[in-house]
């Protein structure tokens, strides 16, 4: 009997091929399978197409082709849409006109960055124009593209009016600016949360099983990051703190809801990299900033400001991580060949 682990005689020169065989053998022994295409040594599982495995375990669904631009856009869109609403509320109630001014700039910059990110994903600027050929109510992508287009137009107009008004006080410009601001706030509302509908109404199992709560989840993390950006810009007020705490509270409820649901489809939210990211994102946008903001409310002076700023940084990171996590959860969900086949 030949010992399979015995090295060949010294005359044998093709060592690379022989070593490769040892490698394959080791991999098969250790992992029970060899992932190199076409190589199936004895002992490794035979590829199977069956009602239990689907077609050789090859995923039926296709991966979303989106790269880093899309989660970043989800983050920026969520934050700026909320910022527009916060600014309008600050102006309408007359409580904080400086904040309202900065919100106009945040909204305009966010709209421009959002468009740049989407164009980056599409590849060429002209391709974005194809989105404006038609309006389709049954397509969240179409609704979103038009919302962003309108939001961009009105928020940029509002910011321009603010800039002009700062130099020459003119009543028509002020009125036009206020109208544009109101319209951008109105469109900011869907902009902040439509991305949840966008991915929720898809064939990706983990997304469509969360379609009711995803828009709320994205909307609240968006609100939290908008508050945080404004705080980091130097605006500290009770209203902003309260908004941040409210958003964090809803996030805690959302997190408890996700953790409480026992469904194998939701595995990617609880395991692996995607599970780690969504949980970390949830912690950083829910309990952590809430605790910090509550502590800040009972402290005074520079320490309170510092706590607020840490809470703000956490919320921004949490909002971004949440979106990266959810997109990765979608990838993990698509990789599971059993889900769409109901195995």
């Amino acid at each position: 009997m030949i010992d399979p682990l015995q090295r060949p005689s010294p005359e044998y020169t093709d060592w690379s091929r022989e070593n490769r065989l040892f490698e394959i053998r080791r991999e098969a022994q250790e992992k029970g399978r060899v992932l190199t295409p076409g190589v199936r040594p004895p002992g490794a599982p035979f590829p199977v197409a069956s009602p239990e495995t689907g077609y050789y375990g090859i995923p039926l669904l296709k991966q979303a082709p989106w790269t880093w631009e899309i989660p970043t856009y989800f983050f920026v869109g969520g934050a700026t849409g909320s910022a527009a609403m916060i600014g309008a509320a600050a102006r309408w109630t007359g409580r904080d006109l400086e904040l309202a001014r900065d919100c106009r700039y945040v909204a305009a910059v966010g709209a421009i960055v959002s468009s740049a990110l989407l164009i980056g994903d599409l590849g060429r600027p002209a391709r974005f124009l194809a989105m404006l050929r038609v309006f389709k109510r049954q397509s969240p992508m179409s609704v979103g593209a038009w919302t962003l287009f309108g939001f961009g137009t009105f928020s940029t107009a509002a910011a321009l009016a603010e800039w002009v008004n700062g130099r020459f006080d003119s009543a028509p410009v002020r009125i036009a600016g206020n109208v544009a601001e109101a319209l951008s706030a109105l469109l900011g509302l869907p902009l902040a949360s439509y991305t949840g509908v966008l991915i929720g109404a898809s064939v990706v199992p983990v997304w469509n099983h969360s379609v009711e709560t995803l828009p709320i989840h994205f909307g609240m993390t968006g609100l939290n990051s908008a508050v945080s950006i404004l705080e980091l810009m130097g605006h500290h007020s009770r209203a902003l703190s309260m908004l941040g705490m409210g958003a964090s509270t809803v996030e805690i409820l959302e997190g408890a809801h996700i953790e409480g649901r026992k469904n194998p489809v939701l595995e990617p939210l609880k395991r692996g990299t995607s599970g780690f990211l969504t949980r970390l994102g949830g912690a950083l946008s829910g309990p952590v900033p809430l605790a910090l903001r509550l502590t800040a409310a009972f402290t005074t002076g520079r320490r309170a400001r510092k706590l607020c700023r840490i809470a703000a940084a956490c919320s921004i990171a949490g909002s971004m991580l949440t979106r990266i996590g959810w997109l990765r959860a979608g990838q993990a969900s698509v990789k599971d060949a059993r889900l769409p086949l109901q195995i």
Binding site: Q138, M141, L198, L223
Partner: protein, 262 residues
């Protein structure tokens, strides 16, 4: 829109796994090769339909039984089935395409107009059959065109034309539906009781224009038992978005009303 609605009937009981449909499709449509990768999954070297593979022959290999005669015909099965875009009655990709690039042709097929598609990729996550895919080099989405160009001039699609065993039948959809039922009866009468017609009419897809006759559970061919058009989730989604918008709008106004002037 006076043309007849056409369809495919892909009968895997007649398929010999020659991949002539794959080659014909690639040649007619000028699609790039998939490379010489060997998946190790029976004789399949493509894996699935993709942006550059619009016909894909699946090789469903039963497990050989250990022992003498384990590979005998009565113990072993080896089925082939040529997969293709299903051209759904209610097509997810068509419903949600934001540019209107995806249209329904006068032959009832689902067609992506390449000059309009902007490559947003939303059709990819809206196809319950995993057919549409974005070409990473080109940036636009591609899938089976149902040989719209050939149908326009009265020719049948390239795959059906090239199929040597008439495993891929092409014709008016209504007639193919009748043919499929008759073929099923015939197969049953010959004792092939595991043959099944795959046409998910009781799901939100409401039927497909590319019917399949397969042997055994359709799931081993990656044919989902209940494909759903993702538009059915939108109502719940927009309800959530309305709640989010409500919290955001009312919350921010109340927050400012409840705090002192800065």
């Amino acid at each position: 829109m006076s043309a007849t609605v056409t369809g495919f009937l892909t009968d895997s009981t007649l398929c010999i796994g020659c991949k002539a449909c794959e080659v014909a499709c690639k040649e007619w449509n000028g699609l790039s090769a998939d490379g010489l990768n060997w998946t190790g999954n029976s004789y399949d070297n493509t894996g699935s339909v993709s942006y550059g593979t619009w016909r894909h022959v699946k090789f469903v290999e039963g497990q050989p039984k250990p022992g003498l005669g384990g590979n005998a015909a009565q113990h072993f099965s080896w089925e082939f089935s040529s997969d293709v875009c299903k051209h759904c009655e209610v097509a997810g990709c068509l419903e949600v395409c934001p540019t209107g690039a995806i249209v329904r042709t006068e032959f009832g097929g689902v067609f992506i107009q390449p000059d309009v598609c902007n490559g947003c990729g939303y059709c990819t996550v809206s196809c319950p059959f995993g057919v549409v895919q974005r070409d990473p080099d080109d940036g636009r989405a591609f899938k089976c065109t149902f040989c719209y160009d050939r149908q326009k001039v009265g020719l049948q699609p390239a795959c059906a034309q090239a199929c040597p065993t008439e495993s891929i039948k092409f014709g008016p959809l209504a007639r193919l539906q009748v043919d499929a039922k008759e073929r099923m009866k015939e197969l049953r009468s010959r004792g092939m009781h595991d043959a099944q017609l795959y046409d998910p009419q009781d799901s939100s897809v409401e039927g497909i224009h590319a019917l399949f006759i397969v042997r055994g559970d359709p799931r081993q061919y990656n044919l989902p038992p209940k494909p759903e058009v993702p538009t059915i989730y939108q109502k719940a989604g927009w309800r959530g978005a309305a709640v989010a918008a409500g919290i955001l709008a009312i919350g921010s106004i109340l927050a400012f009303l409840g705090s002192p002037k800065q």
